[in-house]
C-alpha cells in the first residue's frame, strides 16, 4: 500500500530500553544514517553507571536521544517527538519528558505482569487509558524478530537480542533513512560470526518491511538535508574529537605524544581511541593510578614529549600535587578533565560543570594554570589543539574542562584541512644561555612569554637539576630567599596572564540587547538555542561564551559593562558567576541547575525572557 509522506523540519527521537537492549548502538546507528542524509544532528546518550543493572528495573534504563533537522541546530532537543520503549521501565522512566501527542512505540512482548510489577505498574499502561493523550504503537518487537529469524541458524537468545535491529529498521523506514551504512556496520561488527550478520540484517529488514506493510503506521516522514557549509563531514562525539585533536597536536608539533591515563568514566574512551594510533608516535600507558598517570606524562614531558593525562574530576583531585609540581617545573602538560556529577563518585555517567573551581584554584600554594573548555562535541578537537599550543608555547600545565555531555554527545563535524591547523612547533634549548657563553640558566625567561627554556635530557652542556623546591630566578638553584620567593610567585602568575587569548566575541544580531548571557563549556548549545528562540519572538538578547577561563580574554570586563544585566547559566552552583563577580565587580545573575543533565533550551528561554522583561 502507498503511504502518505509528510515533511518535517525537525524530529527528536529517544530510544530507551534496558542496559542490555543495545539502545546506545541503535541510537548510534540511527544517527549515522541520519548524518549520511545530510541533516544537522545533535545527540544525547544517557545511561546508568552499572554495566547491567537488574533487568527491567528503572535504574537499568539506558537511552539515546537524537535530534535532527533540515536547519542548523544546537542541542539534542528538549522533548522527544518519538519514544521507543523496549520495556515498561523504559516507558515509565521517560514518559514524563514526552509532550502530549508524541508517538510511543512499545515492545508489547515485555509488558508482562512481572515486568509491570517490577516498576510499580499495577495495571498495564497500554490498557488502563493512561496513555490516551499519546499516539501509542504497540509492536511485538521481540516475537516478530524471533519469528523473522526462524529460518536462521542462531540461538533463541541471539534472535531475541536482534530486536534492537528490528526497532532500528522500523524507525529507519518511518524517517526514510538510508541504511547502507548500517548494513556495512553489521558486516564489520560480526565479521567473525557470519550467521549473526545475516540474522541482524534480516531483523533490520523485517522492521523496515513491517513499517511498510502494517496499517498502524500510516505516515512516513522526511526531513530534508540541512543547509550546511560545503565540505566533508563526519559525525563525531566529543571524546573522539578530543582524541583526534591530541593526535593532530602531535603531528603539528612534530613531537611524540605520551598519554598517561587511569580508566575512569567518562574519560576512558579517549585512552581507548589513542591506544589505536601508535603509528603517529603515540604512547599510551594505562598507569597503576591517577597519580602515576600524570607523573608518567610529566616525566615524558621532561624528556621532550607532548605529555597528556586524561581523567574526570576524582582523578584531577588526585593529580593536584603533580600539577603543582608541573607549575614549579614549568613544563608543558595537558590535563583533560571530562567532568561528571560529583562530589565523590557522584553520578559517573551524568554531566556537570562543577570542576571549574578545582581547575582554577584546586592546588596548594599559588599554583596558577591555564584553563580552557570546549563548547560542543566537535569543538573538542580544536580545544585539544589549543590546550597543546598553550602548554608547549608557555611551558605550563593546561587543564581542559570537557564534560560528559559534550564527551558522549555527537554532532556533524566539518573536517578541517590539516594544513589549516596551527603550527605547534617549539624549539628545545640547545646552547648555554648565560652571559658567559658557557653557563646554562634553566630559569632565564623569554621576555615575551616569560617561558623558560625546554632543555631536555640528552642535550650536551645543558645538564641541570629541577625540582619542587623554590628556585632562584634564572639559575634555578634552590632558594629560600624571601624576596626571590615573592618574585617567583608573582612571575608564575604573570606567566599565565601573559598567554595570548583571543577576545571574547558577542553575538547580538539585533544590536540593541540590554541583557548578556555569558556561558562556558558545554552550555553553549542550550544557551544558543534559547537566545535564538527569544530573538524569533522579537526579544533582544546577547550571547557570549568563554573558551579561555584562565587567563580570560582581555576584553571580558569591557564586554560585561556594556550590558544592564549579565546572566550566567551553569551546571553547578555558580562557580563562573563567583569568579566574574569577584574579578569584575559585576552583579551577574547566576542561573544554576545540577540534575546531571544539560539545560533544556526551553527552561533557559523562560528564564531569559523573565530577565529581559523585568531586568
Amino acid at each position: 500500500m502507498t503511504k502518505q509522506v509528510r515533511q518535517l523540519d525537525r524530529v527528536v527521537i529517544r530510544f530507551a530500553g534496558d542496559s542490555g537492549d543495545g539502545m546506545q548502538l541503535t541510537g548510534d546507528r540511527f544517527t549515522s544514517e541520519t548524518a549520511q542524509l545530510g541533516n544537522d544532528i545533535s545527540t544525547l546518550p544517557n545511561f546508568p553507571a552499572e554495566i547491567r543493572a537488574p533487568a527491567g528495573t528503572l535504574p537499568g534504563v539506558s537511552s539515546f536521544q537524537v535530534h535532527f533537522a533540515d536547519y542548523d541546530i544546537l542541542t539534542p532537543g528538549d522533548a522527544p517527538n518519538v519514544l521507543v520503549a523496549m520495556n515498561p521501565a523504559a516507558l515509565k522512566a521517560n514518559l514524563g519528558d514526552l509532550p502530549r501527542g508524541a508517538d510511543i512505540i512499545v515492545n508489547t512482548d515485555e509488558f508482562t505482569k512481572r515486568n509491570l510489577a517490577k516498576v510499580g505498574y499495577t495495571a498495564s499502561p497500554l490498557e488502563d487509558g493512561s496513555l490516551d493523550g499519546y499516539s501509542v504503537h504497540p509492536v511485538g518487537l521481540t516475537s516478530m524478530t524471533v519469528g523473522a529469524l526462524a529460518e536462521h541458524d542462531v540461538s533463541k537468545k541471539d534472535a531475541e537480542r536482534a530486536k534492537n535491529m528490528f526497532a532500528l529498521g522500523l524507525l529507519s523506514w518511518m524517517y526514510s533513512r538510508p541504511y547502507e551504512s548500517t548494513i556495512r556496520f553489521l558486516e564489520r561488527k560480526f565479521a567473525a560470526r557470519p550467521e549473526l550478520v545475516s540474522a541482524n540484517i534480516a531483523a533490520f529488514k523485517a522492521g523496515w518491511n513491517f513499517g511498510e506493510t502494517t496499517e498502524d503506521f500510516g505516515v512516513r516522514y522526511e526531513v530534508k538535508p540541512a543547509q550546511m557549509s560545503p565540505g566533508t563531514y563526519r559525525n563525531i562525539t566529543g571524546n573522539a574529537a578530543l582524541a583526534l585533536g591530541i593526535i593532530a597536536a602531535g603531528v603539528r608539533s612534530k613531537l611524540p605524544v605520551f598519554l598517561g591515563a587511569y580508566p575512569i568514566t567518562p574519560a576512558s574512551d579517549i585512552l581507548h581511541e589513542l591506544s589505536k594510533h601508535k603509528r603517529f608516535g603515540i604512547t599510551t600507558m594505562q598507569a597503576e593510578d591517577e597519580i602515576a598517570a600524570i607523573g608518567a606524562a610529566l616525566g615524558a614531558a621532561y624528556g621532550g614529549a607532548l605529555g597528556i593525562t586524561t581523567t574526570s574530576g576524582p582523578g584531577v583531585a588526585l593529580k593536584g600535587e603533580t600539577i603543582s609540581l608541573a607549575v614549579a617545573l614549568e613544563l608543558p602538560l595537558v590535563v583533560v578533565d571530562v567532568q561528571r556529577a560529583g562530589p565523590s563518585t557522584g553520578m559517573p555517567t551524568k554531566t556537570e560543570q562543577a570542576d571549574l573551581n578545582m581547575a582554577l584554584f584546586g592546588r596548594h600554594g599559588e599554583a596558577p594554570v591555564a584553563v580552557i573548555a570546549p563548547r560542543s562535541p566537535s569543538d573538542c578537537f580544536h580545544a585539544a589543539i589549543e590546550a597543546a599550543r598553550i602548554a608547549l608555547t608557555h611551558r605550563t600545565p593546561v587543564i581542559l574542562l570537557s564534560d560528559n555531555y559534550v564527551a558522549n554527545g555527537s554532532e556533524p563535524w566539518l573536517l578541517p584541512e590539516v594544513d589549516s591547523l596551527p603550527d605547534l612547533q617549539v624549539e628545545f634549548a640547545t646552547q648555554p644561555n648565560g652571559e658567559d657563553g658557557s653557563t646554562f640558566l634553566p630559569y632565564l625567561r623569554d621576555p615575551q612569554t616569560l617561558a623558560r627554556p625546554w632543555a631536555i635530557p640528552g642535550t650536551p652542556g645543558l645538564e641541570h637539576r629541577i625540582g619542587g623546591l623554590e628556585k632562584a630566578d634564572k639559575t634555578g638553584d634552590i632558594s629560600y630567599d624571601p624576596a626571590n620567593h615573592d618574585f617567583m610567585v608573582r612571575t608564575r602568575a604573570a606567566r599565565i596572564e601573559a598567554i595570548e587569548v583571543p577576545d571574547l566575541e558577542v553575538e547580538d544580531p539585533d544590536g540593541d540587547a540590554r541583557v548578556l548571557v555569558l556561558g562556558w563549556g558545554s552550555t553553549y548549545g542550550p544557551i544558543g538555542a534559547a537566545c535564538r528562540a527569544l530573538r524569533q519572538r522579537g526579544q533582544s538578547v546577547a550571547q557570549a561564551h568563554l573558551r579561555h577561563l584562565s587567563p580570560m580574554p582581555g576584553n571580558v570586563g569591557e564586554v560585561l559593562r556594556r550590558y544592564d544585566r549579565v546572566v550566567i547559566p551553569e551546571m553547578n552552583l555558580g562557580q563562573l558567576a563567583h569568579v566574574i563577580r569577584a574579578r569584575f565587580l559585576v552583579d551577574a545573575i547566576p542561573y544554576n541547575q545540577v540534575r546531571g543533565l544539560p539545560f533544556t533550551a526551553a527552561e533557559l528561554e523562560t528564564m531569559l525572557e523573565e530577565v529581559v522583561k523585568n531586568g
Binding site: T232, R234, R279, A292, G295, A300, G303, E321, G458, G467
Partner: protein, 344 residues
C-alpha cells in the same frame, strides 16, 4: 638502554656545583661519593644520565649529581621516571628514594614499576627512619620502635624491602651497605648492566635519628659473622672462618643457616641469581632475623625478561612499519575515515 661510548670522564665530572646539605656524618655522603666515582665506569655521557627522586633526605641526591635530574614529589619518582624512560630509551634513568618515599607514600608506584620491568635503576636508601621530618618511624622500622610519633613503641610490622620487590617479581634485586664502597660499586655495576628494573636496597645510617641501625653489619668485630656475601656460582658460606652456611632442608619451604661442620658440602646451597622462580631469592631475603644476623648482601636475583620500555617501543615500531606517507597525510586520512559525507 644507553650504549657505552669512549669517554674520558672522572668522578669530578659528576659533582655538581651545589653545596651538599646532608647532616655531617650522614651515610648519604658515602653513597654519593661511591655513585659519583662509579659513574665514569658507565661510559655514558653525562647528558644522557638522569637522576629522578621523590622527597626525603635521600631525594636531595639529584641536586648533587652533574647530570640531568629531577627532585620531584613524595613517592612519585618511579612513576615520573617511567614516563621518561619509556619515551626516551636513549637515556640511563636512575631513581633515588628512601624507605618512607618508596615503601610508604610511593609503595604503589614502586611495585608497579618493578612488575612492568621498566628500565630504571632504583636505589633505595634504607635507614629505617623518617629523617627529613625529624624522626618518625618508617615502614622498615622494627616493631615496637620508640620514636617521636610512637612514644610507647610502633605497632606496625615492618616491610622487608627485598621480599616486597621479589613479590612484585622484580628482575634484579640486590642489597648493599653505605659504608662498603667496593661492594656498593660492584652492586651498582651489576644493576647498570641489567636490562629492566634493577632494585638496590642500600642500608644507610642516619646518625641523627637512628644511629647505629646497621652497626653489627659494619663493625669489624661482628660483620663477618652477621653478613652473608652472595657470590653467583659460589656455595653460600659465611662467618669469620666460614663456619656458617645456607642449606635447603628437604621438605622445608625455605633456606636455613647451619654450622658448616654439621652438613656435607653438597648440602650447601650454591648461589644462583638466575633462578627464574622468585621463590629462591625470596627465601634468601627471609634469612635475617631482627638482630640482623644472617643478612645477605649482593645480588639476590638477576633474571632476563623483556623490559616495559622495549615492549612499548617495539609496538610503536611495528605500527610505524605498517604506514606510508607523511604524518600530515596520515592525519588527513584518519580525519576522513569512517562514515563521512560531502556537501558541495
Amino acid at each position: 638502554m644507553a650504549e657505552p661510548v669512549a669517554l674520558k670522564l672522572t668522578t669530578k665530572d659528576f659533582k655538581s656545583d651545589q653545596e651538599v646539605r646532608w647532616c655531617p656524618g650522614c651515610g648519604d655522603y658515602a653513597i654519593l661519593a661511591a655513585v659519583q666515582s662509579f659513574m665514569p665506569e658507565l661510559g655514558i655521557p653525562r647528558e644522557r644520565i638522569v637522576f629522578v627522586s621523590g622527597i626525603g633526605c635521600s631525594s636531595r641526591f639529584p641536586y648533587y649529581m652533574n647530570t640531568y635530574g629531577m627532585h620531584s614529589i613524595h613517592g612519585r619518582a618511579p612513576a615520573i621516571a617511567t614516563g621518561l624512560s619509556v619515551s626516551r630509551p636513549d637515556l640511563s634513568v636512575w631513581v633515588v628514594t628512601g624507605d618512607g618515599d618508596a615503601l610508604s607514600i610511593g609503595g604503589n608506584h614502586l611495585i608497579h614499576a618493578l612488575r612492568r620491568n621498566v628500565n630504571l635503576k632504583i636505589l633505595l636508601f634504607n635507614n629505617r627512619i623518617y629523617g627529613l621530618t625529624k624522626g618518625q618511624y618508617s615502614p622498615t622500622s622494627e616493631l615496637g620502635k620508640i620514636t617521636k610519633s610512637t612514644p610507647v613503641g610502633s605497632a606496625d610490622s615492618p616491610f622487608n624491602p627485598l621480599s616486597l620487590a621479589l613479590g612484585a617479581e622484580a628482575t634484579f634485586v640486590a642489597r648493599t651497605i653505605d659504608s662498603d664502597r667496593k661492594h656498593l660499586q660492584s652492586v651498582l655495576r651489576a644493576a647498570a648492566e641489567h636490562n629492566g628494573s634493577a632494585f638496590v636496597e642500600i642500608y644507610q645510617n642516619c646518625n641523627i635519628f637512628n644511629d647505629g641501625a646497621f652497626e653489627e653489619l659494619k663493625d669489624a668485630s661482628t660483620r663477618d659473622d652477621y653478613l652473608i656475601r652472595l657470590e653467583h656460582g659460589q656455595p653460600i658460606t659465611f662467618g669469620k672462618d666460614g663456619q656458617f652456611c645456607v642449606v635447603h632442608p628437604p621438605g622445608g619451604f625455605g633456606l636455613e643457616v647451619r654450622e658448616t661442620a654439621t652438613v656435607s658440602p653438597e648440602e650447601i646451597v650454591v648461589h644462583d641469581a638466575g633462578v627464574t622462580e622468585p621463590a629462591y631469592a625470596f627465601a634468601l631475603s627471609r634469612l635475617p632475623g631482627l638482630d640482623l644476623r644472617n643478612t645477605p648482601i649482593g645480588v639476590f636475583r638477576d633474571v632476563s625478561r623483556p623490559s616495559y620500555d622495549n615492549l612499548v617501543q617495539s609496538q610503536l615500531e611495528a605500527a610505524r612499519a605498517k604506514t606510508s606517507g607523511t604524518p600530515e597525510e596520515q592525519l588527513a586520512g584518519l580525519l576522513t575515515s569512517g562514515d563521512t559525507w560531502t556537501i558541495l
